[in-house]
Symmetry: C2
Subunit: 265 residues, 2 copies
């Protein structure tokens, strides 16, 4: 969330990090939306998202003290639930400023309206301590959906996610985990690889295969990724290795070559 | 668009590049949405976007020959306009394969259903030649909105945008251009900078100011960006320099320091 994303100043690494973490925790990310620091845009995007009834909606950015930090106000508007000072959040913020005094980072502090703003949230919201910065995260548990608002500063976002959210996501996902294999196909063009992928995917219903041309199609070099989600690692691994063998044989029968790709992360 | 974005495999540099280009061409990007390779998700996201009546909707990715390239089908579904083979697009694709034969990249070619797929589009669509790859871009001019579909391979997306779209955007923007200045504030925390930004923005209605804490707030280092859009460069520049002076004076009066930031691009 934020104008800096919409003017192409900042690359949205927060969405990327969250998508990867959530996928590996076993849930499926269905949509990512970026809006600016605009109350109506935030609340209408949130209402649309609530209408799709996801288990989680995670918002990042816009929790700070400045006028253009409008995320919580946008949530309040979408839920039609007025902002009130949350006493627990106010305490978290006071503790932070007292810590900054002890650390010599500030000399004194006052709970100005700008600072109090970070403690205002809808009545049903729960604040989550920010281990790295000042603004608390916010969690709102509705019937079908949990709304989570995290700061936009990446270290703060990641710290609150790992401490308070990762567990919720894993629990919601059940005992399912995500597995992946990758290979490189060279020597045949993507439109020749396409029917091969089709055939292998038809024969392997629990596996998803995606091709990524590594340059324009004129240089025939295609990364192929194979995904599955399973409760047991050995089931997933044997599914993936079967699919890799089938793909390799078919690609080689068309004159292509395949090599496995080692995962870097 | 694409599952690789939703699983956090690929960082969405296409959206970032487009946002920057469109902003500098003078239009405002209001929303960016990422969905997976799913027909219903694509068509429902497109319908929602059409409901907001923007001048342009730009889709990237999903134009290739494989089964999971579903963008054009998603557009057809949203517009309730069936897919037909576009003869101009078919010719563009044939010319590409003939070029690949001349360049020795393939030995022969056949217009398989996978290749013909790249020529199928709603009847009112116009194909745009792809200078770098095979799949043509697609442009659909409706009453209020122009829908543009570009390939997901960055070089192809950029080439078609620069050749066929940039001019349309500049024309739609009129004689308006976007200007920006940036400064670094050190020594005071964001919640002390916030009221300063508020005051300066109130005194300068055509200027937008945004603060970006460079680390958690405990390290008081804040980048401040000042934006304006204007028809004349000298008007914009004097607006920005006035605002930078006002901000610097107020920040320094609170014990902070400011330094200008040179733009790297």
């Amino acid at each position: 969330m934020g104008n800096e994303l919409l003017i192409g100043k900042t690359l949205d690494t927060n969405a990327h990090w969250l998508a990867k973490r959530i996928t590996v925790l076993g849930l499926k990310v269905r949509r990512m939306t970026t809006v600016g620091d605009d109350l109506d845009e935030i609340s209408s995007a949130l209402k649309e998202a609530l209408g799709r009834k996801p288990k989680f909606i995670i918002l990042t950015g816009g929790l700070g003290p400045t006028f253009d930090d409008k995320t919580i106000e946008g949530i309040a508007k979408a839920l039609d639930s007025p902002l009130k000072i949350n006493e627990e959040a106010r305490r978290m913020i006071e503790e932070k400023y007292e810590q900054y005094i002890r650390e010599g980072k500030i000399r004194e502090y006052e709970l100005t309206p700008y600072r109090i703003k970070m403690a205002k949230m809808p009545e049903i919201a729960e604040p989550m301590p920010n281990p790295v910065g000042t603004a608390p995260g916010v969690k709102i548990t509705l019937n079908e959906t949990t709304i989570i608002a995290l700061p936009g500063v990446p270290e703060e976002m990641k710290a609150i996610f790992d401490e308070y959210i990762a567990n919720l996501i894993r629990k919601a996902a059940g005992d399912v985990t995500f597995f992946e294999a990758a290979m490189l196909s060279t020597g045949i063009v993507e439109s020749e690889v396409a029917p091969i992928i089709d055939e292998v995917m038809k024969n392997n219903p629990y596996v998803y295969i995606k091709s990524h041309p590594k340059a324009a199609e004129k240089v025939p070099k295609i990364e192929i990724h194979v995904y599955t989600t399973a409760e047991k690692a050995d089931v997933a691994k044997s599914r993936l290795s079967n699919v890799v063998i089938q793909l390799s044989e078919l690609i080689e029968s068309k004159g292509g070559k395949t090599t496995p790709i080692k995962r870097s992360d």
